[in-house]
Structure formats: C-alpha cells, structure tokens
C-alpha cells in the first residue's frame, strides 16, 4: 500500500476533489434557490394564466380568489367544524384499523392454523377498493358516522394486516434459535423477539395506511355526510364555488402531508435501534 505506485493516483484524486468541491457547493446553492422558488413561481404563473383570460376564470380561479375563499371558510368557523369531523374520522379509523391489523397480523403470522383459516379470506377481500363499498355501506349504515369509520377501518386494516403478517413471518429464525439457547421460554418468544423483530414492517405498514386513510376518507365523505373537508369540496362544487373547491383540495393535501411527516418522525423513534 505504501509503495510509490499509489502516490500519483492519490494526488490525482485530491486535485480533482479540489476542483470539484466549489462546483458542487455552487450547484447545491443553486438547487436550494430553485427549490425555494418552485412554489411561488407556480402560483404566480397560475395567477397570470387565470387573469390573462386565456382560460375560463370561473373554472380556474386565480390563487388570490382561492385564498380569499379559504379565508372566508376559516373566518366563518366552518373550517374548524369540517377539519374536526375529517380528522376524527381519519384518526379513529386509522387507530381501530391499525390495531385490528396488527392483532390479526400477529395471529396469522405466528400461528399457521390462523393463517390457513383467515389468509384466504383476507386475500380475496383485500384487493377490493374501499370506494366500491360505498353503496353497500350506505345501505348498511345510512349516513351515520359508523359507515364512515367502517370505510376508513376497511382501508387501513388490510394494509396493516399484510405488513404485520409478513413482518412476523420474516423475523430472523436465527434470532429465535439464539433466544431459545439463552433460555427464552417459547411462550415469551412473541413479546421478547417476534414483536420487536416485526416492528419495522409494522411501522412501514402503518405509514402506508396513513395515506390510505385519507383516500378512504374521500370515499366516506362523498357517501353523504354533514361536515368534513371533502364534504365541503363537494358542496362548493355544486354551488360552482371553484375557489372553495381548490381551497379544500389544498387543505386536504396539506393535512395529509403533515400527517405523513408526523408519522415519519414517530416511526423513526419507534424503531429506536436504527
């Protein structure tokens, strides 16, 4: 390693590194700048296009109109009511569906008999899009909250069930053998090894389920309700309040984004050893 042949190479690498570094720093700064301009640029162009008369301003209201609609929505107090209704549906549905998914995932992942009993059924039900259940849910639950929760729970459950099931199945057999050799009783294997071994998979499943719970929220609120962000979008559409429609979409996107970010932070702490 210390012979003369490697020396020129090292110098070459160093000199190219010296040349590259300022370039890459400049490039990075440029990227940050472009990134910061992305949204204002888009909104500005939208405003211009909308006001220029090139498009129908009623169908494509400019951002200023959308902002005014959102402000009015908030000031009237209706926004808080809609937000609470939607968040309640999403969080309750997510927690119930997630808990059931984890429970059944452990059962089918750990006990082959349970898997033989339930997996075929779950695999047939899983691919049916939750939205397809809207008509039957209206028949079963009418316009009650239970029907909304049912749809969100349905959407969340299968994702979490499958990832938990796979996570439990994929727990390293070597860890279980090592635990056995150290005197871990088989009845404690679930809590000592299997649950923690499956945890990274469960967390990934839950995170996917966050966005799924928002998809199913849309179906749930379109199925008929009296408050909620998607409900507000639908009502505004019927009244041709396109500014309010777009404001609702933006709000939904923002909430969904925040929920995903929050969960990502939470997930990082849950799998603490990574």
């Amino acid at each position: 390693m210390q012979d003369g042949t490697s020396a020129p190479q090292r110098i070459a690498v160093r000199s190219s590194g010296r040349n590259r570094r300022p370039d890459s720093a400049r490039l990075r700064r440029l990227n940050i700048l472009v990134g910061a301009l992305s949204l204002p640029l888009f909104v500005g162009l939208w405003e211009l296009a909308s006001r220029s008369g090139a498009v129908n301003m009623v169908l494509f209201p400019p951002p200023t109109v959308v902002a005014a609609a959102v402000l009015e929505w908030i000031r009237s107090g209706q926004f808080l009511v809609d937000l609470t209704a939607s968040l309640y549906r999403v969080t309750t549905g997510f927690m119930v569906g997630g808990a059931l998914g984890i429970l059944f995932g452990i059962l089918t992942g750990q006990f082959p008999v349970m898997s033989s009993l339930l997996s075929p059924l779950f695999h047939i039900l899983r691919p049916i899009p939750p939205i397809a259940f809207v008509p039957i849910v209206i028949l079963w639950f009418g316009l009650s909250e239970a029907g909304k929760l049912f749809l969100v729970v349905w959407g969340v459950f299968f994702t979490v069930w499958l990832s938990t099931h796979i996570g439990v199945q994929k727990v390293d057999r070597g860890l279980i053998r090592a635990a056995l050799m150290l005197g871990t009783p088989r009845r404690q294997m679930l809590q000592e090894i299997v649950l923690l071994g499956a945890l990274p998979y469960i967390v990934v499943g839950l995170r996917t389920a966050v966005s799924i719970s928002f998809y199913t929220l849309v179906a749930a609120e379109l199925a008929g309700t009296f408050a909620g962000i998607v409900y507000r979008i639908e009502i505004a559409q019927q009244n041709m309040q396109t500014g309010q429609v777009m404001g609702g979409l933006a709000a939904l996107g923002l909430i969904s984004f925040i929920a995903d970010r929050l969960f990502a932070v939470l997930a990082e702490r849950t799998v603490w050893w990574r």
Binding site: G174, A179, M181, L182, W273
Partner: protein
C-alpha cells in the same frame, strides 16, 4: 446437574476406582447418532452413526467439508435439531431441547438488534429470573472481559463483525454454561479479525471452565484451538479420524510455524485428501 452430583455421591460410597470413573464421566456423550432429513427427493442421511465423547473441560474441534453434517451434529447436541436417532447425553442427562447448561455461538452473531450490548448479554440471566441489577452486573463483567466497555450501551448495528461476535460469545457465557457449542463462529470474519478472535478465545478459554465443541472447516483453526480434532466426511456425515493435539498451552497463533504443528496438520490433510479423492472418484463414476 443434580443427576451428575448424585452419581458422584454414589461413587464415593463405593471403591476408589469408580470415583475416578465417575469424575471422568464425559461432559458430552454422543453414541450412534443418526439424523435423516426428508427432502423432496426422499430421505437423506445427513449424519450416519456418529459416536464420540467429550471430557469435562476439553476443547474439541470438528472439521469437515461444508454439508458434512457437522453443524447438524452441533445443533442436535444443543437441542435445536429434533428428531434424531441414537443417544446424546450432556452432563449425564439426555438432550430433549435447549437447556441452560448448554450455550451456543452461531456463525452469525444473531444479536438482538433492539438491545444494547449490555442488554443483549443480560438477556440470558434475565430469562433465568435474575433481577435487572444482577443481570447487568453479570453483563458488565463479561463486557470488561471481551474489552468492549466503551460499547456497553451501543446497539449491534454500530459494531464491526468481530465485535458483534465477541458480544455473541459473552452473551452465551452469561448463563455460565457447562458446555459451550460454537458453530463456525469466526467463519464470516476476515482473516485478520479471525486471527485476533482465535487468540482471544484461547485466552478466554483459560478463564472459563466450560467444555467446548467448536465446528469449523478450517484445519488450521481446529489444530490451533483444540485438544482433539474430529475429522468428518460428507455424504453421509461420519467421523473419519480423531487426532489428539498435544501441543503445549497457553497457545497463540505463532504456534502455526512449529514443526510439531506442521506434522499434525499433515496428518489431518492426508486424511482429508484421501477422503476427498474417494468422494471425487465416487461422484465421477455415478
């Protein structure tokens, strides 16, 4: 353990000769061990009527080509491989499953990734109903012994392969096993780390009084470490030859250039070469 103690008591009551024989009761007795696997092509005999004894405190290495069933034999002694034919007695009692007086180190460290080094080592004592404080004290002693004090609170994914395997050895020792089984524990390490680990194990072995059975495919490793080397053949696995290693202890890897070492190695290689040629001709004629 209580069984072996009562045997000693009985022996004391009788003649001095039987006291001697009772004291020399093997730590491990394997007799006529056969293991048959069901495969998609029918049944495969993995291990064929293997018999050997290991004396208390003895260090035995089992060498053989991959697939010769040496790991299977070890797993069976550990109580992880059932069913088997034949008899296995550890400390005088038959093996029916994992037991606290038998510890095992695998080729992969298999550390619990969610536990710190200390918690990993304390796991065994905890499972044997020691308090958290006691278990941590045991762990801290072992951490000092393997020289990883700075890493006591580190998680396994931050350690190198060699460090992880040291933790795995300490974890197996935390239950103070009478018998320590090691399944190619250094097989996944690079050559330099492996040499260091071998010297560490030799030092460690002088401090613990466990009987050790160590499986490897590396003949140098086997002679360096062992009091006795069992050479196995493949398909089906059986024991070809026992070679006693009467090299002085304490040993270190410098012994590998001594003439006595080299002549032992030649003996072992002759056996392996003859067997290799036989297996090759057999597969050729098939």
């Amino acid at each position: 353990m209580s069984g072996s103690r009562s045997i000693v008591k009985l022996a004391l009551a009788s003649s001095p000769a039987s006291v001697d024989s009772a004291r020399k009761q093997p730590a491990i007795q394997v007799s006529n061990l056969s293991i048959v696997f069901d495969t998609h092509r029918g049944q495969t005999v993995a291990v064929d009527r293997v018999s050997f004894d290991v004396a208390p405190g003895e260090f035995v290495c089992v060498v053989g080509p991959s697939g010769c069933g040496k790991s299977t034999v070890l797993n069976t002694i550990a109580g992880l491989e059932v069913p088997y034919e034949g008899d296995i007695l550890v400390e005088g009692s038959p093996v029916g499953g994992p037991r606290p007086d038998v510890g095992m180190v695998f080729q992969q460290p298999h550390l619990f990734p969610w536990k710190s080094v200390r918690r990993n080592i304390a796991h065994g004592p905890r499972m044997h109903r020691k308090s958290r404080k006691e278990a941590n004290a045991i762990a801290d002693d072992l951490i000092a012994m393997i020289g990883l004090k700075r890493f006591a609170d580190a998680y396994p994914n931050t350690l190198s392969g060699g460090m992880q395997q040291r933790v795995a050895i300490a974890r197996a020792l935390a239950n103070q096993p009478r018998v320590l089984l090691m399944d190619e524990p250094f097989g996944a390490l690079d050559a330099q780390t492996r040499a260091v680990m071998q010297d560490n194990l030799l030092e460690l072995r002088d401090r613990i009084k466990a009987t050790i059975v160590f499986v490897t495919h590396d003949i140098d490793e086997a002679i360096l470490l062992a009091d006795r080397v069992l050479i196995m053949s493949a398909g089906p696995g059986r024991i070809l030859r026992e070679v006693a290693v009467k090299l002085p202890r304490p040993r270190s890897s410098t012994i590998m250039v001594e003439p006595s070492y080299l002549s032992l190695k030649k003996d072992c290689l002759d056996v392996i070469r003859a067997e290799g040629a036989r297996a090759f001709n057999q597969s050729d004629s098939n």
